[in-house]
């Protein structure tokens, strides 16, 4: 089921997610004593999840233009588009500075710069 922006059903969706997040937070505070510790491997695996999800969301935003990655002929155009270039530079800034403000600011500046030049 696709959710329409702004529809009343969005509130239901938000409530479900909110309840789920609360349950995750409360989990072992409530169930104290069920387990003492996560096995170290499980703990590290859980820590990978956010990185995997954020990356899975970002890559298509940068490299997918108009809903497809296209054929080989358009591959270069896909890899070198305004958003992938801006995103790539932003990634360097993010790793170097660790600053969210700098990453977002420079990323947007590069995007606007490319749009101003290329049109």
């Amino acid at each position: 089921m696709q959710v329409e922006l702004g529809a009343p059903s969005v509130w239901l969706l938000l409530a479900v997610i909110g309840a789920g997040i609360f349950a995750i937070r409360l989990s072992f505070i409530q169930l104290r004593g069920v387990i003492d510790k996560f096995p170290p491997q499980v703990e590290r695996s859980l820590k990978f999840v956010p990185a995997a999800i954020f990356s899975a969301i970002v890559f298509p935003e940068l490299f997918v233009v108009d809903g497809s990655i296209g054929g080989l002929d358009s591959l270069i155009a896909v890899v070198i588009n305004a958003r992938s270039v801006a995103g790539g530079i932003a990634a360097v800034v993010a790793i170097r500075t660790g600053s969210i403000l700098a990453t977002v600011g420079i990323g947007m500046a590069v995007l606007w710069g490319i749009r101003a030049i290329v049109g």
């Binding site: 089921m1 959710v3 969706l13 409360l26 995997a52 999800i53 790793i95 969210i100």
Partner: protein
Amino acid sequence: MFTIGLVAGIAATDAGIPPLQTIGMGVLFFSPGSTVTTIELLESGTPAVVIVITALSVVIHLTIVSLSIAPYFERLSLGWKWLLAYLLNTPNYALSTRRYEVEPTTDVRAYYLGTGLPLWLVWQTSLGVGVLFGVGVPPQWEFDFVIPLVFIALLGSMLKDRITATVACVAGVTSVAGIGLPLNSGLIVAALVGTTAGVLLQRGRWAT
């Protein structure tokens, strides 16, 4: 946190999410990661089931935090446990547990609220200010792009070791390859493949 709230508020409004719903996300979730994820997925027309799974997976590591802080909350009443659980985020968890260890006589509730409530206020305020700004941002500024940039910023702070970097690359490439999958499920598949790659790599390293 203030920066994320600000740009998330602007981007959400720019994407057409009503201000009240964005504020609602702030209060119901109190989680920057889940909020930004939900805004992005709502905007791209992702099915509700996928949004729920993804937004919850983003904070699944809070189970570790919950387990780790549980001993300190053991003697509190149910009401307090629920209130403190609602406020549980990594920064106030880290501050509180460090203090509890160094200073065992610390008032558990007071110190925790002292770290959690300011965090809560900053988050709601920044999101609200962002929403106000967002109303005036013209669409040709492509402000929707700030959401991927926030993800890139968050990723940048996570990629401290080679395994996590590999996890991110594998998940990203799988996600692009899985664009055509029904119900936008490529996202979930990619997150699973990426995490599995991390688990395998880790096991490989331990074996040697």
